[in-house]
Amino acid sequence: MNLGEALRVALRGLRANRLRSALTMLGIIIGVASVILLVALGNGVQTSVNEKIQPLANLITVVPSVGNVPGGAPPKDLIDADVAALQDKTLSRDIAAVIPATSGKALVDGDAYRYRANVVGTTEQWLEVNNQDMSAGAFFDEAQVRSTARVVVLGSAVANYLYGDDPAAALGKPVRINRQTFRVIGVMQSVGEPGDGVVAMPLPTVRRYIFGGGDKINQMIVQASDANAVPAAENDVIRILSERHRIKDSANRDFEVQSLRSRLDTFNQILRILTLFTAAVAAISLVVGAIGVLNIMLVSVTERTREIGIRKAIGATRRAILEQFLIESLLLAGLGGLIGVLVGVGLSVLGANVAPSFGPTFATFAPSVTIPSVILSFAISLAIGLVAGGYPANRAARLRPIEALRYQ
């Protein structure tokens, strides 16, 4: 029997029991679609998070340790000299820039309102390093840092609270912090909480007028020359600071070094495992689907015992009967797999289009279908057809003609 003929016979068989075939396929459809969709969702989350973090991936944060080691030397603060050492190109080639910051909570008064903001004193590179943009005015420049200018840049929430919706309205306005008056020269774009509650000003300005603290700083942002240099830069930071703070045992360090990059790697790893795990759970429904195919094929063979007898009487070989039923179950499972792929891809695309309407957090979130998940799940459904159809088809092929003909 040639393939075209076999396919036609199989299609006729499936069409004769439309509802039954559809329900059987449903098991496969659900399994395949959910595997594809879940993998796509996991991928979407990963891509979205990575996209947000990628620009920050070459950053290393250094902060003083809280609490000191009992019996050890008193912890040393991070100071300007530490910053200078890290900036020294002869000590490290992988550190591109170091941005010091000192920060604290302070009450910020506008013309009419008061806002409890996170006041940050830093240098002009801070904006760029944090991957933020201005919505009005400009960030302070190097000259203003050097001259201890009494200027501030407001986070969008602060500007909004003090001077209303229009960020431009805040420009040139005074704000009072710690009984000192500063001039607003810029408003930053929103990045979500808590970054929007920031008030930034030149580091010397903060020291002189607000927090004092001499040459102490409470945070350094170290920029590696690129994301791949992060581990090397991290090591350099630890080496240089340990030397300067005379720390021999890593347990006694009085500073902490964290990189987004290593956290991102951990996150990606966890997410990958999670995605695989959920996909595996979804694949269990494929097993259920396979049992459905097996069941329906067994029923089909029993129902058509007489037909098998007649086909054998008029010359069908075992192989012809085997092929007939195998092709039928392959068609059943393959068609289910195909529809499942379409549904899975369709839902993923739909998700990508609908997600942004759930708010800015989802703006860049798009489930992305991976080709391997499509190929694999379709291949699995074909394998199901082969395996779940194999036993019933073999049974049909082995039926003895006289027994099949006696069956009514």
Binding site: A313, A316, P401
Partner: protein, 270 residues
């Protein structure tokens, strides 16, 4: 000898012959033909068939000898359970004897494998059963085409149409089995049995489910086929049907109890 096929006249499905591969059946026939041309079509020697159902043994055939020549029209009769169908299954290569020998058309087929038997059925034998002959949800013409499908013949449509026209169903080609009367279904089955141009036509109570008129129709077709030279073996309960044959074999308890030729064949009164 070279033109063996033309020895038999082929009224139905003549066009089929040109579609069939010319070797196959005839090659077997020439090589395996121990007795050569003119030997028995069916030669059954001391055949016994025993069915085992758990501990119980049913001896469905008990040392049966039967020879049927080319061109005969034989009716097999006997009470229910006498072994008629069992005999026909063996004659038709659907089953093999427990012991004894069976030569079909000169070839010993009593010990062949499933697949070899399937090939022989495909080339040499046409079956008509009592009922539920046709593959459901499959049109008349597709049913008739099936033996050609299994024989690996590619161009089938025309032959199938001609065969259906010969049994008077040229206007029912696309009908499904459940849209045909019992007599029409049997005629489709006959067309299907003949499309491979078999040397032997076996019918197990082909008129068992039909009224007199439809029975007469079927018998007329079988008679015409036999007149044209085809060997026909028919199982029946009805004396009128049996009288229509040239020879009546009677069975009881798995044995042949009488075997008589009829000089005058009754004509069918439709």
């Amino acid at each position: 000898m070279g033109d063996v096929p033309s020895c038999r006249k082929v009224p139905i499905g003549r066009s089929v012959r040109c579609c069939l591969p010319d070797t196959g059946p005839y090659a077997i026939r020439l090589i395996g033909g121990i007795g050569g041309w003119g030997a028995s079509m069916i030669q059954i020697e001391d055949v016994t068939k025993v069915y085992r159902m758990g501990k119980v043994e049913v001896r469905a055939l008990e040392s049966v000898d039967l020879t049927i020549d080319d061109g005969e029209f034989v009716a097999i009769m006997g009470p229910s359970g006498s072994g008629k169908t069992t005999l026909m299954n063996i004659v038709g290569c659907l089953d093999v004897p427990t012991s004894g020998r069976y030569l079909l058309d000169g070839t010993d087929v009593s010990r062949l494998s499933d697949n070899r038997l399937a090939k022989i059925r495909s080339r040499k034998i046409g079956f008509v059963f009592q009922s539920f002959n046709l593959v459901a949800r499959t049109s008349a013409i597709r049913n008739v085409e099936l033996p050609l499908v299994y024989a690996g013949v590619r161009i089938r449509r025309h032959a199938a149409r001609v065969a259906l026209e010969q049994v008077g169903l040229g206007d029912r080609l696309k009908h499904m089995p459940n849209e045909l009367s019992g007599g029409q279904q049997q005629r489709v089955a006959i067309a299907r049995a003949l499309i491979n141009d078999p040397v032997l036509l076996l019918a197990d109570e082909p008129t068992g489910n039909l009224d007199t008129a439809a029975s007469a129709e079927i018998l007329k077709i079988l008679g015409a086929l036999n007149d044209a030279g085809r060997t026909v073996v028919i199982i029946t309960h009805e004396e009128e049907v049996a009288r229509f044959a040239k020879r009546i074999v009677r069975m009881r308890d798995g044995r042949i109890v009488s075997d008589q030729a009829q000089r005058i064949r009754t004509e069918v009164s439709a």
